[in-house]
């Protein structure tokens, strides 16, 4: 047993109304991949931000290499040898890889030296990356490599990774794991945050499980089952979504020859997309973010207008209609970005209820909003979808991600849609909320609606879809029955890993 590299002792941090971290103690040894597990709101983010110097704890202390460690800001944390790869990348799309990396460094070397260092480090760890390419042209996986290499150039002793695989294809995940294992073998400690239990079992040496701000368990992931870890995390056993499979009915939504040129230079064009969804069916559309998911949702929701006959809703051409006309006909959508797209952050839940439900729920009379029935509708969503909130008059941004997502999905589901399109329905949502959302989508399909689920979470798609297809660089593959598809087949449908072939020989070195 080596002595710990990093240790927290009794860390406590309270925010008004909630104790985010309550007496949290855990330790990481050098060369250990340590998983931090927990539902949304369990306090993982606060803990990690404390370690990275973004949050000051109310009580408790941290030890790094045996001495007291209290970073006042991320710069101090980096100087001490702690690096972090965030879930959301902080990269400038219009700058090159090398320029982006230089921006994140305290004393960047000369551009030429830096480019050489990037090439060297990327080769050493099997993360192919061309320093001169524009970040705007990179895939999500490649963008993550930029962030990782930015960290590795600082030669960190402790590397924090926040949900790193959520944007990766299965093959890219393998490349990442290879890199992380290599780092571990060199003695770097890695704090790995994820809710994907299978990955944690494959990668991590130790796990600390948080629930409601407290450490509820520590375990060695290889020795326990994913189900056991999930139960520790949630505090109760999880029910897997299920439904009675019925025969699919008539075609409700038909999309054919849908091509869209993106408005922004970094958007993805949609190329000749075509598919059908039938009543009672769930169509899963997989793919790594940035391959046209947002553009596809915008074309289906009516935010982007397309030629009328490219989208037929029960044989009615709706392509040229705006969002509210489509809603009136029964085509509803829930976008990925909750704050700012699906909901207005500073508006109350009541005000957010009227955002999409006005037409179908008749929440206005002669152009005047009927706030009474709107409040009732918001209360109904909160009750049916178990949204944890003090009430309907709370700003949307005050809700946790998972609770707001339940509200957003509930708002559409309770409008009784004919066709519902959801993008990333469970992204960043804790396990029990995710299960509830999936079950609601399945119930909707059982009730005779057609459901389209766009997601990066392949396990989720295979679990709930009847048919599966993949979106890659704006092209949609032919749908295949989801039952019996293996992960390898799915990976190939997704277009394989980016730069797989270059990665393999270096990985073998």
């Amino acid at each position: 047993m080596t002595s710990p590299l990093f240790e927290t002792i009794g860390l406590t941090k309270a925010y008004p109304g909630v104790v985010a971290n309550d007496d949290v103690s855990f330790a990481i040894r050098p060369g250990e991949i340590h998983a931090l597990l927990g539902e949304n709101g369990a306090g993982k983010s606060t803990l990690v931000k404390t370690i990275y110097g973004l949050v000051k704890p109310d009580a408790g202390e941290m030890l790094f290499k045996g001495t007291v460690y209290a970073p006042s800001e991320p710069r101090a944390a980096r100087a001490a040898g702690v690096a972090m790869v965030f879930q959301h990348f902080s990269l400038f799309e219009a700058l090159s890889v090398a320029e982006n990396i230089a921006l994140g460094m305290e004393n960047p070397p000369k551009p030429r030296d830096l480019a050489a260092r990037i090439t060297e480090v990327s080769a050493q760890y099997g993360l192919p990356l061309d320093p001169d390419r524009l970040v705007g042209d990179l895939s999500a996986g490649e963008r993550q490599r930029v962030e990782i290499i930015r960290c590795l150039l600082q030669d960190p002793k402790l590397l924090i990774m926040d949900e790193p695989t959520s944007v990766l294809t299965p093959q890219e995940v393998e490349i990442l794991f290879h890199t992380l294992r290599k780092l571990r073998d060199e003695g770097t400690a890695i704090l790995y945050i994820s809710h994907k239990l299978d990955e944690i079992r494959a990668l991590c040496d130790e796990a600390t499980i948080l629930r409601l701000g407290k450490v509820v368990a520590t375990c060695t992931p290889r020795e326990v089952s994913a189900a056991e870890m999930a139960e520790l995390m949630v505090g109760k056993s999880l029910s897997r979504p299920a439904r009675d499979a019925g025969a699919p009915g008539e075609v409700l939504l038909h999309v054919g020859g849908l091509s869209v040129t993106p408005a922004s230079p970094f958007g993805t064009p949609l190329r000749h997309i075509g598919f059908e969804v039938r009543a009672g069916e769930v169509l899963g559309i997989g793919g790594v973010a940035g391959n046209g998911q947002d553009e596809l949702l915008a074309a289906l929701s009516g935010e982007t207008r397309v030629p009328p006959r490219t989208i037929l809703l029960s044989d009615t051409p709706v392509g040229a209609m705006g969002p509210n006309k489509r809603r009136a006909l029964g085509l509803l959508c829930a976008p990925e970005e909750r704050l700012g797209h699906a909901a207005a952050p500073d508006m109350t839940l009541t005000e957010n209820a009227v955002l999409t439900a006005r037409v179908r729920q008749q929440l206005d009379r002669h152009g005047f909003v009927d706030w009474g029935s709107t409040r009732d509708y918001a209360a109904k969503i909160i009750e049916r979808f178990d949204v944890r909130t003090p009430g309907t008059e709370v700003a949307a941004r005050a809700l946790s991600g998972g609770n707001l997502q339940k509200f957003v999905i509930g708002r559409e589901v309770l409008q009784n849609p004919k066709v519902l399109v959801v993008n990333q329905p469970t992204w960043g949502v804790d396990a029990s909320a995710a299960a509830a959302i999936r079950q609601a989508l399945l119930d909707l399909a059982t009730g005779g609606a057609a459901v389209i689920v766009i997601s990066q979470d392949l396990d989720e798609l295979l679990e709930i879809s009847d048919r599966f297809c993949a979106l890659n660089e704006g092209r949609l593959s032919a749908p295949r029955p989801a039952r019996g598809l293996s992960m390898e087949e799915v990976g190939l449908m997704l277009g394989g890993a980016h730069d797989m072939h270059e990665a393999q020989p270096e990985a073998a070195e």
């Binding site: 000051k56 009516g302 509210n324 970005e337 700012g340 955002l355």
Partner: protein
Amino acid sequence: MIRLEKRPTPSRAWNIGAPILAVVLTMIAGGVMFALLGQDPVEAIRVIFWDPLFHERFAAFSRPQLLVKAGPLILIAIGLALGFRAGIWNIGAEGQYIMGALFGAAFGLALYPSESPLIFPAMVIAGALGGWAWAMIPAILKTRFRTNEILVSLLLVYVAEAILASAATGWLRNPEGMGFPGSRDLARHPGTDNPEVIAGTGMHWGVITAFIAVIAAYVLLNRHVLGYQIKLAGQAPRAARFAGVNPGRLVILCLGISGVLAGMAGLFEVSGPAGQITIDFNVGYGFTAIIVAFLGRLHPIGILLAGLLMALTYIGGELAQLMLGVPASAIQAFQGMLLFFLLALDVLANYRIKRAREVVA
């Protein structure tokens, strides 16, 4: 060290409390300034805030002036606030105000010397159209060619001022005015005048219109779908598009409404308090209304109060110049402080101040 921490929900108490605290702080800082100028600070503050309303000699004159000055400010600010709420920045209300006055006055003078009671209402409509047309220029340029409405509307103010100068010295000049610039006196001609509705109160038709606009804007923002869409577009443009709001339509509507209100304000002014078109009948109400809109937190009731407060500082400022000999620039500095403190305290509605403790060892 002091830190700001974002509140989970904007504080309702501070939304109301911040403007009041700003007024108090302005009084304190202004008092210090007046003291440095050799004035008795308490006396100066009293002259500015108290005497216009309650001084036994001056109040009879300055009390009606309060409504006369506040009326156009409130009317214009209500229109601007709708746009500002939607993230549409009409900075050129002054130009729309001038064009409204010109359109309305030109219409009334074209029918001179008729005294028909229908002329004044028609002039109001002409004034509204003038302001609307002037606001449509930035609106159409923005929706068609994506120009910036801030620049276009602002620069059009200077165009409007040039047209005003040509009207006052040329095509609208009083033929019986012995060569002096300026139009015929609209306020002294029955039919084109905008009289006080209740004598001695300053309450002319423009003030009544301003009060109606406050109520209408309140209802619009709180009850109507359009008001909801305006707020949504300002707070979350993507969510607004998702909710089916057409951004171009909103630009046309918001600039149109603010143009109509500014144009009407111009007409009411030129046919009432100002009386005639002169080279400089406009005194910057269109710009001051921007301050009033923000001072009132873009809320109709707030704008009503802010307009009255702003008018009070104008009148009180003039009174202070007269009675105490305070320089005009000191009064402007005083008004500047008010805006400064208001914007500075604005932050408290969304953030709370935290004194960061040293790290617990």
